[in-house]
Symmetry: C2
Subunit: 481 residues, 2 copies
């Protein structure tokens, strides 16, 4: 048992040092690896498989709404990046520049895409002539580069993986509808598939995307009470279209500018899964996204009957579509339990000679460690039911946690005390002035996370928590990753 | 009919100008688009969807053999690229260099990966300590950059998409077995899934990969008789391991170097599909890889019963897993036929009022244009059968074409005449000397494509087609893309 305990104890406790706990889990669950490339990360099989599951499910949901996948170049010539003023100001300070191709210097330097609005505009400018060519509903899965100074696996890395959707529409209404539609697809995906509750809302002007008219966001609360922006959807209006000259002949035979959107989600989501669901024994993966949902652990491997039954459990569960592994390594059962917990597999099945004699096995939940004895013949149905229950319970637990850590502040002293003492979200009214956002950030390090949808009705008579002027919006504030 | 004819006639004939035909097809089937990024291409939805199908099927076949996916950084620091001598000499002249990150020059320049051997070695050096850590069977799907001077869509582009597998093994035998295993996976995939017959063999030293001990290849013949190298698998022996210091403690408690392999396939495959199967009406896609396998074309759209029946056909075929579209646009049937042919959808279903009255519809094969009248109630079974037949026939036709264009030369005059007059492969014996390869290339522009497996038995007494010395191998020679 000494070795088993050592494995578990080697993770820092969440409550002692959350950042160190995160680093430990990422490493010990073998999600990432290190290379000599500064600021960049390696996605190891356990980490990349999570991304593959995220990608497959999101991609399916996108395609159901008519989105098509494309792939555009990874390079952006400097002149193209500069076409839209706000956009270049937002990104130029953090891009990587290619200045030499082969043995010769380039005539025009190119950056590695930090995002691809400019490339999609360049394509649409060539491809869109008539209303018949609209809408364009393109998406791409790729990696992007932003030259960050301080980096953390999944959360902030010089290169990360993401999807970026870019659409062009004939009308402003259609663009707005698509912007909101994609935000809700993101939100539903996090809640259904990753068991992460989110706040859906709009960003303030200060926090919106460089070049956007409006940015919508989903914000999730991590176990340390901090916010993680988990997906954004932008309405560009016709700003990019004017900068890039993207015009079409409409049905009424007049020339009009298109209206555009973009929306993206990244490998940050893996960081969110870790920080929302993980515990002091390691990773806890929601069943729907878990590459391995169940591991069968034989209790007495020398016993041939036990090994046979274990193999049969593996085959039966796999045939039923439950992603299952058999751990028949030469480690002790205790070591294997700790290993399964570290890697976050949602459930394990223990089976030993005594169980076998009685025709039963034991299902153990990763999230609560609860044990459930079931007849071997019922194992598929019981496992499927258990995985569903785990998924649902994980979501409910995360929601309860968020609600318990969401506070309201009507005056600035309360706000500052909450920011000091209570990790979590603070709901407070705001006048709409960026100066108050600056003040709040300087005083508390809190930023405006979003103006939540559906909570803006009781604004009449409210006052800004910072300056006291009449309020324009209810805002969720929080410290953010 | 004038407009329909125009659409078809706008493709150059294959026999008039094969290169122009290729360019026309790529453009008119909307596989690619243009951007302002010189030498790079845009994968439009129809082109990218082919890649998605290739990726899904290959990925499944890889994983069946225990391969796991990972993702490594896109940048390689100069010092890392330089660690293996042959490798850096092979790639340094054609890489893109990043010299600036954000607003400051980099201390060490980095190239955008042209291939990732050095990064995988860097990772394995850190991750492999014991025989228990072996084998490592990693693969990644990503884009790579090689600074080509002349480019063509899919065939040669500064950035392209591919997969690169990188494995590390405890023994030389295991590495060799994996190298060959992956080559056969590639070959089977091309033959089964893309209906492209290939020659499997080994590259000569002159043509092998920079840093490899042995390179295996599959070579396919295009419709113009030229060869396209369609996938390669390399055995590195312990060369990289020694350069990067990748050692492990074996079961006998001694320190040993690992043996490594790498293997890759790229979006060139889309070029191969086009050039093997396409005809003067456009693209012809093998059913297994076709994103759209069948299009339903109603003959009289004003007829409600016809439209209802068309919609029902669409729903029925989709429910049966046949990837089907309905073309209910406001174009004429003739235009739609030409459009379906251009885009290479393997079959169409025509249904008009007269057919409907008799309870039938007409299936039309893209590859042969053969028509088949079937009862509407049998449409799923008949379509599935037809798609299978098309897949099989396309492969057989391509194989017959290759065989008809494969020649043997026992003397140099015959060789040169064949090279001048007969597009295709030339089988001829070779002494093993790179000087003869140089001579042949200078005289004929033919290069050694491979030394085919299974055809090296009758070498006794044979002489080199170029210099007349005793032969060491039978070689396939050809002009290549």
């Amino acid at each position: 048992m000494a070795a088993d305990k050592k494995l578990v104890e080697s993770i820092t406790s969440r409550d002692v040092d959350f950042a160190q706990w995160y680093t430990d889990v990422v490493k010990k669950a073998e999600l990432t690896g290190y290379t000599s490339v500064k600021g960049c990360m390696v996605f190891k099989p356990a980490g990349y498989a999570i991304w593959e599951n995220i990608r497959a499910e999101l991609d399916r949901r996108f395609k159901e709404t008519g989105v098509e996948n494309v792939y555009l170049p990874m390079f952006i010539p400097e002149s193209l990046l500069q076409k839209e003023k706000d956009h270049v100001e937002g990104f130029a300070p953090e891009v990587a520049w290619v200045t030499q191709g082969g043995l010769t210097p380039l005539q025009e330097k190119m950056c590695v895409r930090p995002t691809s609005e400019t490339l999609f505009c360049d394509l649409y400018q060539k491809d869109v002539q008539s209303y018949r060519d609209l809408p364009k509903l393109y998406n791409q899965w790729c990696s992007v580069v932003r030259w960050e100074k301080t980096t953390r696996p999944f959360l902030r890395s010089r290169e990360f993986l993401w999807q970026e959707g870019h659409t062009a529409h004939a009308t402003a209404e259609e663009a707005e509808a698509r912007t909101e539609q994609m935000l809700h697809i993101y939100a539903d995906f996090l809640e259904d598939f990753l068991a992460i509750p989110v706040v859906r809302g709009r960003k303030t002007d200060k926090e919106k995307f460089a070049g956007a008219e409006a940015t919508y966001t989903i914000e999730a609360m991590m176990h340390d009470g901090k916010a993680l922006q988990s997906g954004t959807s932008h309405n560009f209006g016709d700003g990019f279209a004017k900068a890039f000259g993207i015009q079409f002949t409409d049905k009424d035979n007049t020339l009009k500018y298109v209206h555009q959107t973009s929306w993206g989600m990244t490998t940050r989501l893996i960081g969110a899964i870790i920080m929302v669901h993980g515990d002091d024994s390691g990773l806890v993966l929601p069943p729907k996204v878990a590459p391995t949902q169940c591991v069968v652990i034989p209790i007495r491997q020398k016993d041939e009957a036990v090994m046979e039954a274990s193999q049969k459990l593996l085959d039966t569960l796999r045939a039923a579509g439950i992603r299952t592994k058999l751990d028949d390594s030469d480690r002790s059962p205790g070591w294997k339990f700790a290993d399964q917990e570290m890697r976050g597999f949602p459930m394990r099945i223990e089976i030993g000679p005594k169980d076998l004699a009685r025709g039963v096995c034991v299902l153990v939940r990763r999230d609560t460690r609860e044990k459930l004895e079931v007849a071997i013949e019922d194992v598929v149905a019981e496992s499927a039911k258990l995985l569903e229950t785990i998924q649902k319970d994980m979501f409910e637990r995360a929601r309860a946690f968020r609600e318990a850590h969401t506070y309201a502040a009507e005056d600035y002293l309360t706000f500052r005390n909450l920011a000091d003492e209570k990790p979590g979200f603070i709901k407070a009214y705001w006048c709409g002035d960026a100066a108050c956002e600056e003040t709040i950030k300087a005083d508390t390090t809190c930023t405006s996370r979003c103006m939540p949808f559906g909570e803006q009705d009781e604004i009449e008579g409210r006052r800004c928590v910072c300056c006291g002027k009449p309020a324009k919006a209810l805002v969720y504030w929080g410290k953010a990753y």
